[in-house]
């Protein structure tokens, strides 16, 4: 199987720089998910690899050889589109068979392979239908089957779950990793949904404003985000952010927030006297206790359940907004009106970023 290498790719349309020096490497059998806010960058990336568009500068190598200016039909690539892009005048069978026909395989072999892949994707009973007669879920799976049937070296998936309803999206999210493992292709998957990215990826490439901000496994992205934007993109509800300026006090770095002084864990001295942003994930906020030393009183203004958790909308002493989450079973105690509750911030879970550049201020090695 092949590797895929994007080497400092840049692309601009008119005055807009859509991609800037983006580099990604995907090994055979690996799934790299490109995740980022909506904007042309992610889809353009896939089209560059597919060969439908050529980059301004940079190189793309598949299985070791450069594919610049090589037409899509000669790149050994399979692609599933966000809006399915099925051939309306052909049956589902013919749609899936198209890559095999282009290869000139003989009819018996074509039928065998199409039957195999459609059984895997559970669409064997609708093969005789035209796209107009298929449901969205079936169209999406037909589109996937077409991209997979030839066992391509590189598989490109352009937000394939976007136009599918929430229930089916969840099912496919569970099923896709198993499916993709069967084929061993180098997979480049694009999505705006961070949960999809974390669920499916071996590594995640966070693309923002044409640049790759971080390329790492999900755990590094979530626990050690390299920039404020990466931290904001991953996590629901979004991470809480506050502008602060750590000071030196009694041999350690401290932060004044919500009318309290908090000690930062050791190793954060680099942040002293710098303008910073403090990041606190909602699930890391500790609720409860009745005003023990070190905790702060907040006003709880609303509770919004979120799947298996509940989101508490809190307002601090100076009007600061804070979102915290609690397990579902704890929601009932909070009622409907405003009330005061106490919260605590675990120092080791705080994220620090430079306010100017947005870059993470990593704890110094112990």
């Amino acid at each position: 199987m092949s590797d895929l290498i994007l080497d400092r790719i840049s692309k601009s349309y008119g005055k807009t720089q859509v991609l800037s020096e983006a580099s990604i490497e995907v090994k055979a059998g690996e799934t790299v998910v490109v995740c980022g806010p909506s904007g042309a960058g992610k889809t353009v990336l896939l089209r560059l690899v597919a060969g439908v568009v050529e980059p301004d500068t940079g190189d793309i190598r598949i299985a070791g050889r450069s594919v610049l200016n090589v037409g899509p039909e000669r790149r050994d690539v399979g692609m599933a589109f966000q809006n399915f892009a099925l051939y309306p005048h052909l049956t589902a069978f013919e749609n899936i068979a198209s890559p095999l026909r282009a290869r000139g395989l003989e009819a018996g072999e074509i039928k065998k392979r199409v039957d195999e892949i459609s059984k895997l994707l559970r669409i064997e009973h609708v093969l005789g239908h035209t796209p107009r007669e298929l449901s969205n879920g079936q169209k999406q799976r037909t589109s996937l089957a077409r991209s997979l049937v030839r066992g391509p070296g590189v598989l490109l998936l352009d937000d394939p779950l976007r136009n599918v309803d929430a229930k089916l999206r969840y099912e496919m999210r569970l099923e896709l990793p198993r499916l993709l493992r069967n084929f061993g292709s180098a997979v480049l998957y694009v999505t705006q949904d961070y949960k999809e990215a974390m669920a499916l990826a071996d590594r995640i490439a966070v693309l923002r404003a044409g640049r790759i901000e971080q390329l790492a496994p999900a755990s590094a992205i979530y626990d050690a985000p390299e920039s404020i934007e990466v931290a904001r993109l991953f996590g629901d509800p979004t991470i809480n952010l506050y502008p602060i300026r750590p000071e030196a006090e009694g041999g350690a770095a401290v932060v004044r927030l919500f009318g309290q002084t908090w000690r930062l864990p050791r190793g954060r001295e680099a942040a002293i006297d710098r303008d910073c942003m403090l990041g606190l994930r909602p699930e890391d906020v500790r609720i409860g206790g009745d005003g023990h030393p070190g905790s702060v009183a907040f006003e709880l203004e609303a509770v919004t359940p979120l799947n298996v958790r509940g989101v508490l909308y809190l307002r601090g002493p100076a009007g600061e907004e804070l979102l915290a989450t609690v397990p579902e079973r704890d929601i009932g105690q909070f009622g409907r009106g405003h009330r005061r509750i106490w919260i605590d911030l675990p120092a080791e879970k705080l994220h620090l970023f430079d306010r100017q550049s947005g870059a993470r201020i990593a704890p110094a090695a112990a």
Binding site: P37, K167, M198, A199, T238, T304, Y313
Partner: protein, 387 residues
């Protein structure tokens, strides 16, 4: 500030040359003063038709709509004292956003200073205060939607109707905006009805949710009841992400005890749950009928990983999928041929392919009639009662 009552509300569409479509089928429900109600369902279920009938843009075929006790189904929209946020935003192109939002207040001839202050308040809530002087054509879909919502909310009308108010919202803003909007609605005691196909959004905002399918009101209850006591299989599998796990089961008697035999996808016996308490009694006394096919449900976060509990000793499952989402982990488990999804807090240190112990606590099991889908019991332990 207003109560609303729908009494057997019905809508039939008669498109020319085609079969008549029963879009809303005798829907009855009550909305209390200041209550926030969500109409939830997939596309075509009748929720938008219902909202449009309440607003007055569709004529009801049958049934009555009462606001504060007064019948309003024959009144034109302007006389119903409702504020509406439309799915298509419907902003006035030649006006700046601030004038769009303040339009109703201008018509009411409120003083300029009050209009400016209220516009600023609502715009701050929805994070559009930076773009108030721009025009609708120059902003994104998400911003247009927020402007349309601001225009409806600013009026603090006795009854507010919101049609898919947050479908285009940027994912990062959703949680905080939902919280702020909920607080605003509650503090201003605004009776609100909103339509959505996203059950996450419905559960976040609503005091009660009306789940609709094919024009029929399936269940009208607070979110916690929809999750813990769904009225039927449809509601059980629609609500929740991930949705409730549902498997087939048959009650049987063996060795002097009553069991619930779970069947796998092919209909073969997979594993058993020992029944206790009332569920194990004779059918006449509230027990289960042997030989009858039931559907058994358990919510993903009620499955106990790495533990045992009464009724399901010794069950192990193979992990076929593990998805860590930061604050929770979703596991795909294969248990004797049946697929289950389990959700646990934080990070669960198992690998794909490993075997782990799994328990299905009796109190977490829901029983449904296989044929009709109606819920029969929520919880199968000793203290449980019928649904």
């Amino acid at each position: 500030m207003a109560t609303l009552s729908l009494d057997k509300l019905t809508k039939v569409y008669r498109p020319r040359g085609r079969e008549p479509v029963l879009a809303v089928d005798h829907v009855s429900l009550e909305v209390g003063d200041g209550e926030i109600v969500g109409l939830l369902g997939s596309s075509g279920c009748g929720k938008t038709s219902t909202l449009r009938m309440i607003a007055g843009f569709e004529e009801a075929t049958e049934g009555k709509i009462r606001s504060n006790g007064r019948e309003i189904q024959d009144l034109p929209p302007s006389q119903r004292d409702v504020a509406m946020a439309f799915e298509g935003y419907a902003l006035y192109p030649p006006l700046r956003l601030r004038d769009n939002i303040g339009f109703a207040l201008l018509r009411e001839r409120r003083p300029r200073s009050e209009i400016d202050q209220r516009v600023a308040e609502v715009a701050g809530l929805l994070e559009i205060e930076d773009i108030l002087d721009r025009y609708p054509s120059s902003i994104s879909a998400g911003q247009q939607q927020r402007t349309s919502l601001a225009r409806a909310l600013i009026r603090r009308a006795p009854l507010s109707l919101l049609d898919e108010p947050m479908s285009q919202l940027e994912p990062q803003l959703r949680a905080i905006l939902r919280a702020r909007i909920k607080d605003y609605l509650i503090q201003n005691r605004m009776t609100t009805i909103f339509v959505t196909h996203d059950q996450t959004e419905a559960i976040a905002l609503a005091d009660r949710i009306a789940v609709m399918e094919k024009g029929v009101l399936e269940q009208y209850a607070p979110p916690v009841d929809l999750k813990e006591r769904p009225a039927n299989l449809f509601v059980a599998s629609f609500i929740g992400e991930p949705p409730m796990n549902i498997v087939d089961a048959i009650a049987l008697e063996e060795g002097g005890r009553r069991w619930l035999q779970i069947l796998d996808g092919a209909g073969n016996p997979a594993f058993r749950v020992a029944l206790a308490g009332q569920a194990s009694a004779l059918p006449a006394h509230g027990g289960l009928e042997p030989g009858v096919k039931y559907a058994l449900g358990i919510r993903p976060h009620r499955l106990r990983i790495g533990a045992t509990s009464a009724g399901t000793e010794g069950l192990t499952a193979r992990v076929f999928s593990r998805q860590w989402l930061g604050d929770q982990t979703h596991l795909g488990l294969e248990l004797a041929g049946c697929s289950f999804v389990a959700v646990a807090d934080g990070l669960v240190p198992v690998q794909v392919g490993e075997q782990i112990a799994v328990a299905l606590p009796l109190a977490a099991l829901h029983l449904f009639d296989r044929a009709s889908g109606t819920a029969l019991r929520h919880g199968l332990d000793a203290e449980t009662r019928a649904a």
